[in-house]
């Protein structure tokens, strides 16, 4: 083994996470194990968003010397399934440890067949190294609920490898023989053999730098769902390698407001020609839109039927469909704020309300007939514009339990119900 590889082994960590979930009308705590890799001497650890999310309440890192230190979440980006942690450096210094960071390699030059190693903690088996090859260096897939219900995969392609990646490998590095980090192991196909996926270092490096700098990644959004043209060029009378097909336009989105619709072919975005012939070419196009500052007016050149038209679309900030969650424990209700994306998807007028994501049997919410999936719009005739409205009502109920009026909606049917003490 190379010296670089031995050094890399010192940079791989095990991450023990305790996190809270607002399920079945209450707070539930659970523990899980993942992997990570130290990427700076001042304690930056890169891992998966599905390992360390804002739901984490305790993060412990096991170093190569088997000693445990604490860490905190710097930021996460479920879109690329990446999260950045910072090890408590005061503790590291006090206990006299020295961190040995790993270095990124170039994921762009990887070729199928190249030997790679996955290092991590599969099923809690600390410091496991598995070997395989790059099976595909440019795999495209999107998952709208992939990261604990959050969207992922729109802005990056993946490295596919046959190095064994099991639960617990998540967040660990995929490295070349010289110990350079070319990917962050993320997921495998359940029930398949040796189909593992990793986020390429090129994506990981950018996301990490921006999370370290800003704590968040802000992307622009216009609401276009692109589709690969494949061999529809003939049908649309397009020169080959030109344009991207609009498969769908999110209702109420900037693109919808701007007049775009499904079946349009986008030829250029902000003056830059786009080519979306194959699915693998879609993430860079999505990134092109996302990279503009929020509020940018984008000029889109669009082919519709025989004519070519220009559309102006003002970008807004990309948001997840998953809103903030909370448990109203006296009522036995877990709720999630209606997000802008959720509201549009379900054709609500606005983002008023919370979605019920769990009900505890026998509690007032259950007794009142509230079920998972219901949307609570008003409480005591006050519109639920934020979770705080509900929290305040819940606090008041905790102090003095009084009949409380809810306005709920289920499949567009509105009912009034009472939460009874």
């Amino acid at each position: 083994m190379s010296r670089g590889f031995r050094q890399l082994l010192d940079a791989v960590v095990r991450i023990d996470v305790r996190e809270v979930a607002f399920e079945a009308g209450t707070r539930r705590y659970s523990a899980s194990i993942g992997s990570g890799v130290i990427l700076s001497a001042d304690g930056v650890v890169l891992t998966n968003a599905h390992v360390a999310s804002p739901r984490a309440i305790e993060l412990n890192i096991t170093l190569a010397n088997l000693e445990r230190v604490t860490a905190r979440l710097v930021g996460w980006d479920h879109w690329t399934d990446l999260a950045v942690l910072r090890i408590d450096m005061a503790e590291v210094k006090r206990r006299g440890f020295k961190l040995s960071p790993a270095r990124f390699g170039d994921s762009q030059t990887l070729f199928p067949g190249e030997v790679v190693y996955a290092v991590g903690t599969p099923h809690g088996l600390t410091r496991t190294v598995t070997r395989g090859i790059v099976s595909n260096n440019n795999r495209y897939f999107e998952d709208t609920r992939g990261i604990g219900g959050f969207e992922t995969g729109a802005f990056n392609t993946w490295l596919q490898t046959d190095a064994a990646i099991n639960p617990g490998n998540s967040g660990g590095p995929l490295v070349t023989e010289d110990g350079r980090v070319v990917g962050i192991s993320s997921r495998g196909y359940m029930g398949a053999n040796n189909l593992g996926f990793a986020i390429p270092a090129a994506t990981a490096k950018t996301v990490m730098e921006r999370l370290v700098r800003d704590g968040v990644i802000v992307r622009s959004y216009v609401g276009l769902v692109p589709g690969a043209l494949q061999d529809l060029e003939n049908f649309y009378a397009l020169a080959i390698n030109t344009g991207v097909l609009v498969n769908s336009v999110d209702p109420g989105s900037p693109a919808a407001k701007g007049g775009l619709r499904g079946g349009d072919i986008i030829l250029s975005i902000g003056g830059l020609k786009v080519d979306g012939r194959f699915p693998e070419q879609l993430p860079p196009i999505q990134n092109l839109i996302a990279s503009h500052p929020v509020g940018t007016e984008l000029n889109l050149s669009v082919k519709r039927g025989a004519e070519i038209r220009n559309f102006k679309v003002v970008t807004e900030m990309l948001e997840s469909r998953v809103g903030e969650e909370w448990a109203l424990e006296k009522w036995g209700l877990s709720v999630r704020k209606v997000s802008r994306a959720y509201a549009r998807e379900n054709q609500f007028d606005d983002t008023t309300g919370v979605v019920v994501i769990g009900v505890q049997p026998g509690f007032p919410g259950d007794v009142a007939g509230i079920a998972r999936g219901d949307v609570i719009l008003k409480i005591n005739q006050e519109a639920i514009s934020s979770l705080d409205v509900l929290r305040a009502a819940h606090t008041a109920y905790e102090a003095k339990a009084m009949p409380t009026l809810l306005e709920t909606q289920r499949n567009r049917r509105v009912s009034l119900t009472i939460l009874k003490p």
Partner: protein, 464 residues
């Protein structure tokens, strides 16, 4: 002296009742079986002819038969319903019949048997006792008729029970202790007077045990026999509601969508005490409700200043309001009192004509492509939350398995927005376009843009 006379007095009081008890049930039964028939019809779809059998009651001298509302699938277009046939109980011979349509208010389907059968039928109205239809009392015996399956020649059989409960649902409904008649067939009192018409049975809760002794609750419904029946007083006045045409129109329409009952606790919270009510979820675009100024979240409290009755279960109030609309005709005024916020408001509405229903929508089948397209109607606009004035076009009504469109991923209820890049604004022009593609043997592919949920998808259909 008085002591020995008492038994004699008692005897004279009981005697008439004993005499009445000696009713010749088999004779009454044989006579009344002539009011019952089995009706068979065929629902024709793109690939199949599905026969259905329902039980019906003869209501007049002209061979008019009523079938319960559930006898015909509400999604089926009237032209899909074919080959109506009437079977007399115990007979393998059938006589042709005509479908007359459904009455919106009662829900009954009307069928008329061919004239040659009329002499063998007996209208159930012949068994109405002179004078007002009396209400049945608790524990009164009631009996009715069931018909065996077709392979047993619809052999009639006797069912008997007693009245357990009479309830407004909102129609006055008698509930017997056991099954008393096949749904759609009449129920009689002990003297053979018409007591009512059996309706679909209620679900019965049972526990189902598996081998390991675990129990799971199940609801079972007897589809052949029912213990629930509509009382004669809530049936007889409506026997004449024979639809003027097969579509059952005119149909009164308010356009207040998604009525949900207001429960007792909510009424108390809103300081309405014992008032009954129903929340309006949505007010439909361009509807009479919208024109009258009704708003979503209004709580309906009264109709024509009559407070809504308190019914059990509470959701029955919704059926009550629907019936109040259905019993009226388009153009009739309806004064609706609602609670909006803390204010009671009266809205004068003029009922309108129900927009074209899905079952009335135009359809066209394309065998080579493998789909049936259906005209986009008002209900589609409501379901998809688009303005009904927006371009409409075609909704996919049927996809033939393994056909070109099925392989391309077209699904039932997809909304075809574009065909070969052309927007489908009208049903007629869209089906012409599809017909042209179907006819053109040289075509190897075409492209559809379809709407599904809030999204669209481009589908490429390969032909041959």
């Amino acid at each position: 002296m008085t002591s020995w006379r008492r038994p004699a007095l008692a005897l004279s009081l009981f005697l008439p009742i004993l005499l009445r008890g000696a009713v010749d049930l088999p004779t009454l039964w044989a006579e009344r079986v002539k009011s019952t028939v089995a009706v068979e019809y065929v629902t024709e779809t793109e690939i199949a002819r599905q026969p259905t059998i329902a039980m019906g009651t003869v209501v007049d001298e002209k061979g008019t038969i009523i079938l319960p509302s559930g006898a015909i699938d509400p999604r089926a277009a009237t032209w899909q319903l074919k080959d109506f046939k009437v079977f007399l109980p115990g007979s393998a011979e059938s006589t042709a019949a005509a479908y007359l349509g459904q009455d919106a208010f009662t829900g009954w389907h009307f069928v008329r048997a061919d004239e040659k059968l009329w002499a063998q039928l007996k209208p159930v109205t012949a068994f109405v006792r002179e004078g007002a239809a009396r209400s049945l009392a608790l524990a009164d015996p009631v009996w009715g008729i069931g018909l065996r399956p077709k392979e047993e020649d619809f052999m009639p059989y006797f069912l008997q029970s007693s009245v357990a409960l009479v309830q407004a649902l909102p129609r006055r409904t008698g509930i017997a202790q056991q099954e008393v008649a096949a749904p759609g067939l009449p129920v009689f009192d002990r003297d053979g007077n018409l007591a009512g018409l059996a309706v679909a049975a209620f679900g019965q809760s049972y526990l189902q045990f598996n081998r390991s002794g675990r129990a799971a609750p199940v609801i079972l419904m007897n589809v052949e026999e029912s213990s629930a029946f509509l009382l004669a007083e809530d049936m007889l006045p409506f026997l004449g509601r024979i639809p003027k045409n097969i579509s059952g129109r005119p149909l009164a329409w308010l356009g207040a969508y998604g009525l949900e009952p207001m429960d007792r606790e909510v009424a108390k919270f809103l300081k309405l005490q014992s008032t009954s009510g129903a929340v309006i979820s949505e007010v439909l675009e361009g509807s009479p409700a919208e024109k009258a100024g009704l708003k979503p979240r209004d709580i309906i409290l009264a109709i024509d200043r009559q407070p809504l009755p308190r019914l059990k279960p509470e959701r029955v109030v919704v059926a009550f309001i629907e019936r109040e609309i259905e019993r009226r005709s388009p153009g009739v005024a309806l004064l609706i009192t609602v609670l909006r916020g803390t204010e009671q408001i009266e809205c004068q509405t003029i009922l309108g004509e129900e927009p074209k229903l899905i079952r009335e929508a135009d359809r066209r089948h394309f065998d080579r492509l493998g789909l049936t397209g259906r005209e986009f109607v008002y209900g589609d606009a409501i379901e998809r939350r688009v303005k009904s004035a927006e371009p409409s076009g075609v909704v996919v009504h049927y996809v033939k398995p393994s056909s070109p469109v099925a392989v391309a991923g077209l699904r039932l209820d997809d909304w075809i927005r574009e065909i070969d890049g052309m927007e489908t604004k009208q049903f007629s022009s869209a089906v012409e376009q599809l017909a042209a593609i179907e006819k053109d043997a040289s075509r190897s592919e075409f492209v559809l843009l379809v709407g599904r949920g809030g999204e669209t998808a481009v589908l490429r259909v390969k032909l041959n």
